[in-house]
Amino acid sequence: MSTSTDTIEELANREYKYGFVSDIEADAVPKGLTEETVRLISRIKSEPEWMLEWRLRAFRHWQTMEEPHWENVKFSPVDYQEIVYYSAPKPKKVLSSIDEVDPDLLQTFEKLGISLDEQKRLTNVAVDAVFDSVSVATTFKGKLADMGIIFCSMSEALREHPDLVKQYLGTVVPYSDNYYATLNSAVFSDGSFCYVPKGVRCPMELSTYFRINAENTGQFERTLLVADEGAYVSYLEGCTAPMRDENQLHAAVVELVALPGATIKYSTVQNWYPGDKNGVGGIFNFVTKRGKCAERAKISWTQVETGSAITWKYPSCILQGDDSVGEFYSVALTNNYQQADTGTKMVHIGKNTRSTIVSKGISAGRGQNTYRGLVRVNAGAENARNYSQCDSLLLGDKCGAHTFPYIEVKNPTAKVEHEASTSKIGEDQIFYCNQRGISTEDAINMIVNGFCKEVFRELPMEFAVEAQKLLGVSLEGSVG
């Protein structure tokens, strides 16, 4: 009875393989957070005055706020004065091409399996690589620029396209939104900016790899994507971080603006350091992601969350325009002492708005996995539709799965459906596979993969492969 249980645990307990620290000189602001820190960050980045004002408003508001504590995640308090709020890798000189990028840095990306070589791995992906806080290399820019697509770091956007940034920044996630989003608004270091003009279909998957490197550097990415009328863009976000003993705070903000008839597909694979077997270390991942849909617009979030000690994340859609569509597809895996509290909010404001939620939680070891979702149908949202499905899969008997679906319906024409299930990989299933010649590892991969199928299907090809690797599984073949 014990053999396959052991193997399940062994699989769940694989060491984090991206644990190494790059030795690159960091240009860091002294740790701690005061108004001076905020001014310093803004000054280093030569930001326009309005940006500094916005940051300061956020900072002052943050000082009046209390750190939230949720029912289903437990962690020791974060000391905000111990965090380094800005750290940029020092380039040897100004860079005009990838060849000039610090070789150590490139090696770090190499170790992560992220190749900046356009020819090789990412032939169809433009990468804006965020290393710690500053973008160091951006590819494919020329090709995109020809179509009027802007894809660059937030710092660059503030320099080159300040009006666009000013027009949309904070329109979906206001600086006063929540404790972590407000902190982010005050001290955000960098991130990605993308604008796709009217009627343009972005011809490639846009991608950012985040990586947390310098010690005690809180990461405060700020991403803003704007798809103008009828535009289409698919954006991939991937994250890995090296091993750390102390918990690191990550409080990113992602804002999506889908103007009339536009479609934004936002996919995330999150593999940050989850802490060790005993629950020491790991990333605190407190992220605010939200999109706003104008009429006929569509926003689709797909996420595969396997890392972080704590994940707190609810990619949401505000379905403001009539006939707009929101989707959320999620796989969250927790093992050892990882905690994930994730889900989505679908806010139906416009008429005939539709939303779909598919959430797959996998718990192993002592992992705790919580789905927390809100479907709200406002009074004016005639004929709103929602379908939610929340499935949990348990490996072993020390882990937990929890589901909290909140439904608020203020319009009688709404149709809201919710389905939930919990299942467990059983010894008998493993033995059945073994008896057919399939190893326990492959059997678990197969079952986990089958469980996540509906979500993986939503990922762009490049990412689907990555996601499956991350779950330690291989994709089901096309047979049958």
Binding site: M1, G437, S439
Partner: protein, 256 residues
């Protein structure tokens, strides 16, 4: 091919197999009958390597290998196949995909090339014809929502594709309608060959009209209490098991 000597096994401190001796040669078909709870499935499970069973004594040699020393998947790859009394449902995993993974694991072990999707489908179609299985079952998750009979047929279908050397069928006939019984028997008979052996666990003589055994054994209280030819099955059908249990009562006490 298979030599079982003095096999003892227990589940959670309860001794279930209490000294099994059995010799199975290539080409032979052995039927094992016996009352409910006598240990038939336990024997099948021990041979297949189910971890819940603890072997406390005895040896099992298979093709010259110490079978008990091999993991369940190694045994399967060496050609041991168990058709489960209660086939297991695996939601989300496509039946065909599952079978392809299984076949390729076995082929890889044998040093054969893995089959690609096309070759595999061709093989599957061939086997389907023999077994009269509804093709739609192939595209569903493994055993999920299958009727009792469909599950049993699926086991035989898997057996046909995996082409084992030693097939153990645990009550594959239970719950089958007459037509299904015939096609399952066809499937098993198609596998009969001089280099293969089959062990059929059953409660019903009826199956043995279709799959004619070379030997019939009666398993009771964890021991083989009687062995004979196919006519023993007919005798059991008529007389039940009581007469056998009485005659062995004393030796069981002695063994206990």
């Amino acid at each position: 091919m298979l030599t079982i000597k003095n096999l003892h096994a227990r589940v959670e401190a309860k001794e279930i197999l209490r000294g099994i001796d059995l010799q199975v040669n290539p080409g032979e078909v052995h039927a094992i009958m016996g009352p409910n709870g006598s240990g038939k499935s336990t024997l099948a499970g021990v041979l297949a390597g189910r971890a819940a069973y603890e072997v406390t004594d005895g040896t099992v040699t298979y093709k010259g290998l110490d079978l008990l020393d091999l993991s369940a998947e190694e045994r399967a790859r060496e050609g041991v196949f168990l058709a489960f009394q209660y086939p297991v449902e695996i939601p989300g995993v496509n039946n065909t995909y599952f079978l392809k993974a299984a076949l390729n694991a076995v082929r890889k072990h044998r040093g054969e090339e893995e089959l690609d999707a096309m070759e595999f489908l061709q093989l599957v179609r061939e086997k389907l014809k023999i077994l009269h299985i509804d093709q739609s079952l192939l595209n569903r998750p493994v055993n999920e929502g299958f009727s009792g009979g469909e599950k049993k047929r699926n086991e035989i279908f898997q057996m046909a594709v995996l082409d084992p050397l030693l097939a153990i069928l645990d009550e594959t006939d239970s719950g089958l309608d007459i037509d299904a019984l015939k096609s399952v028997a066809d499937g098993v008979n198609a596998l009969r060959s001089p280099d293969r052996a089959i062990i059929v666990v059953t409660h019903y003589q009826r199956l043995l009209n279709y799959i004619v055994p070379d030997f019939v054994h009666v398993l009771a209280r964890g021991q083989i209490v009687k062995s004979g030819g196919k006519e023993l099955a007919l005798e059991l059908e008529e007389r039940g098991y009581d007469w056998l249990l009485e005659s062995t009562g004393r030796s069981l006490v002695g063994a206990g």
